[in-house]
């Protein structure tokens, strides 16, 4: 029981609590069986019905869609120039011609905020996918193989888990992306993605591992093995579908927190760098003018916060819908 994981929002106590049946399941002693069986729906169908009624779900989904479109086609939203500015407009306050005003170098804040979505979202999405794939694979291997493989993989995960997140990414990024280096835009992005994923996969691995361990001994898996199903088939057909739901929920929330993490790193001056446009960079540049031009801080922060919240809320909504106990 070496993993009371702090970092994950998803793995509520059950994942790490080796208790017996005792504490769980609120008994519906009174509720007649027949009443519950009335409409047979699957867990997913139930969850969908639940989700459909939640305004929070629709709002966050709409925002996410908006941000993704913004990241893919920023020109749809603005015809302005996000990179080049005119110094005579430096820190001009928001007006009807430039809604969000101009930054220190006279660049249009509105266009920058729109174009900033791309870097933030791409970094967050790719890191999430990488983390899920790698952590998920490690978790399946550790959980399914058990024995020394599990022991070694778990210790390796512990090593990465033991590194404080911000500190770890700072060290990684300064090593490969320090002041002396001149990496290209895409290399820097890749490095940020890599450092986020390298420090996050252990959480996914633990989630997956405990989920595999829980289902591995289920009767239908044992039956499938007894019928001669191969390892690959059991994992693909039986284990994966069962573990997918928590993984998806966690992934959604992770996109949100990675957007925040990317911004934090850019803010500290070790993540993405100008001329790349990202919300974190904008906030970082704005912090010196917090007293005179707070609007410079406000707009990128608002976009950042909305994006992070949308993903986290979507994940939350799905999690609640998937967890019958919370109804």
């Amino acid at each position: 029981m070496s993993d009371p994981s702090t970092a994950s929002i998803v793995s509520t106590p059950p994942a790490t609590m080796p208790t017996e049946a005792g504490s769980g399941a609120p008994t519906n002693a009174g509720l007649p069986e027949s009443a519950k069986q009335q409409k047979p729906r699957g867990l997913l169908g139930d969850a969908w019905l639940d989700l459909r009624r939640k305004p929070l779900f629709w709002i966050s989904a709409a925002f996410i869609l908006l941000f993704i479109v913004m990241a893919a086609f920023p020109a749809l939203f603005t015809s302005g120039d996000a990179v080049n500015g005119a110094l005579e407009r430096s820190r001009v306050e928001p007006s009807s011609s430039a809604w969000f005003g101009y930054d220190v170098q006279g660049r249009d804040v509105y266009s920058r905020v729109i174009y900033g979505a791309r870097a933030s979202i791409v970094v967050a999405l790719v890191s999430t996918i990488l983390t899920l794939l790698f952590g998920g694979a490690m978790g399946i291997i550790a959980g399914y193989r058990g024995g020394w493989v599990d022991a070694v993989l778990s210790r390796v995960a512990d090593i990465f888990f033991g590194l404080p997140f911000v500190l770890g990414s700072i060290v990684i990024l300064t090593t490969f992306n320090g002041s002396g280096t001149d990496n290209g835009e895409w290399t820097i992005m890749g490095l940020v993605i890599l450092s986020l994923s390298v420090l996050s996969w252990p959480v996914v691995m633990r989630l997956m591992r405990s989920s595999v361990l829980a289902t591995k001994e289920a009767d239908y898996i044992v039956a499938a093995r007894a019928l001669g199903a191969g390892t690959g088939r059991i994992i693909l057909k039986h284990l994966l579908p069962n573990c997918l739901a928590p993984l998806l929920v966690y992934g959604t929330i992770m996109v949100g927190s990675f957007i925040g993490a990317e911004a934090t790193l850019s803010f500290l001056g070790i993540g993405l760098k100008s001329p790349v446009v990202s919300w974190g960079i904008m906030i970082s540049e704005a912090q010196n003018y917090i007293r005179v031009s707070p609007f410079l801080l406000f707009f990128p922060s608002a976009f950042l916060v909305t994006a992070v919240l949308s993903f986290v809320m979507l994940g939350e909504a799905v999690r609640e819908a998937l967890d019958p106990k919370l109804r």
């Binding site: 017996e20 049946a21 005792g22 009174g30």
Partner: protein, 342 residues
């Protein structure tokens, strides 16, 4: 045959001298899928020194009735929509939360089915028994411990002193149920409700627990309500039996009468479904069909879709619980025929 109104044993609602009476109780569960009418006018009573067995399938409302008596119904989803529960003639449903609390444990106590989940896993068994002496009786820690060990002794737990400081999961199922019983009788209750006390246990242990319960009930002259779905358990212990179906009492009688000549087709079906030694080789007789959906109880008699004797009247009129004399009653349009057949 005197027809009896649903308003109470003597129709007037004044104290009748009964220890505990449930009178036309109605409870529904409001869920997001709809309203389930779980209890639809249950009336029964128990006196000091007698054992009433409440018999029924799961979902018939026997446990919910008990929870309502104890005041531990989960609200929501459960809501009492009508009726009274009188203890010493006073309607408990109208009493304050504090008054009801004082009755729990001292007036009416309850034994639960699954002792593993009913006992708090993180406190010792001894603590959970002694707690009542400390909180309710104001005893000191050491006195309460002494009394708790006495209680464990009374329910025949070997090495009671040593067992005092064990946790529930360290007990075997039977021993844990004994501890549960010790806890429930600690404050000397007048009524003991046992909700399927042996269902979770091995057959051999079941008999021991029932013996213990019977013994304690006689010694202490408690009124006992024994809730069960097991006809076999009932016969030895109960004085009277109330059979429940779809949230109503469908038949009430003393044990002898009920077994000899049931006055409701449902009871008849239950008795027939017990395998008998003299009918070896024959097919087991079961009651056809399923218990009704409580969100959509069929009109008329709730049992009519499954009843071999059903007539058109059964689909239209709800049969009232009619007294048949000798303290027996049946809620069937054809109760007379059933009793008078040979």
């Amino acid at each position: 045959m005197s027809e009896q109104s649903a308003a109470g044993a003597d129709g007037s609602g004044r104290p009748s001298g009964r220890l505990l009476e449930v009178d036309d109780l109605r409870v529904e569960f409001r869920t997001r899928d709809g309203v389930a009418k779980v209890i639809n006018g249950v009336t029964y009573h128990v006196d000091a020194g007698e054992t009433l067995a409440v018999l029924g399938e799961s979902g018939s409302g026997k446990s919910v009735t008990a929870q309502t008596i104890m005041g531990i119904l989960d609200t929501p989803p459960g809501f009492v929509t009508g009726g009274e529960v009188r203890f010493h003639g006073k309607d408990m449903l109208k009493q304050s939360a504090e008054q009801r609390r004082r009755i729990r444990g001292e007036g009416i106590a309850m034994i639960f089915q699954d002792s593993l989940s009913a006992l708090n896993p993180v406190f010792t068994v001894g603590f959970q028994i002694a707690e009542q002496f400390r909180i309710r009786r104001g005893l000191s820690r050491s006195d309460a411990k002494k009394r708790a060990i006495e209680m464990l002794d009374q329910v025949k737990i070997p090495n009671a002193k040593g067992r005092f400081s064990n946790y529930p999961h360290q007990f075997s199922g039977g021993m844990r149920q004994r501890a549960m019983i010790a806890m429930s009788i600690a404050l000397d209750p007048e009524v003991l409700i046992a909700d399927e006390p042996t269902t979770a246990l091995d057959v051999t242990v079941q008999a021991q627990i029932m013996d213990l319960l019977g013994e304690l009930q006689r010694e202490r002259q408690m009124g006992m309500i024994l809730i069960t779905h097991d006809l076999g358990v009932v016969a030895d212990v109960a004085d009277r039996i109330a059979v429940m179906y779809a949230g109503r009492i469908v038949e009430e009688a003393n044990v002898y009468d009920l077994y000899r000549k049931p006055a409701h087709p449902y009871t008849l079906g239950l008795l027939n479904s017990i395998p008998r030694m003299d009918e070896k080789g024959q097919e087991l007789r079961t009651i056809k069909g399923l218990p009704p959906n409580l969100m959509n109880i069929p009109p008329g008699c709730a049992f009519n879709p499954r009843c071999p004797m059903a007539q058109p009247v059964c689909r239209e009129t709800v049969p009232p619980l009619l007294q048949l004399g000798h303290g027996r009653a049946s809620a069937c349009h054809f109760a007379e025929e059933l009793v008078n057949r040979d």
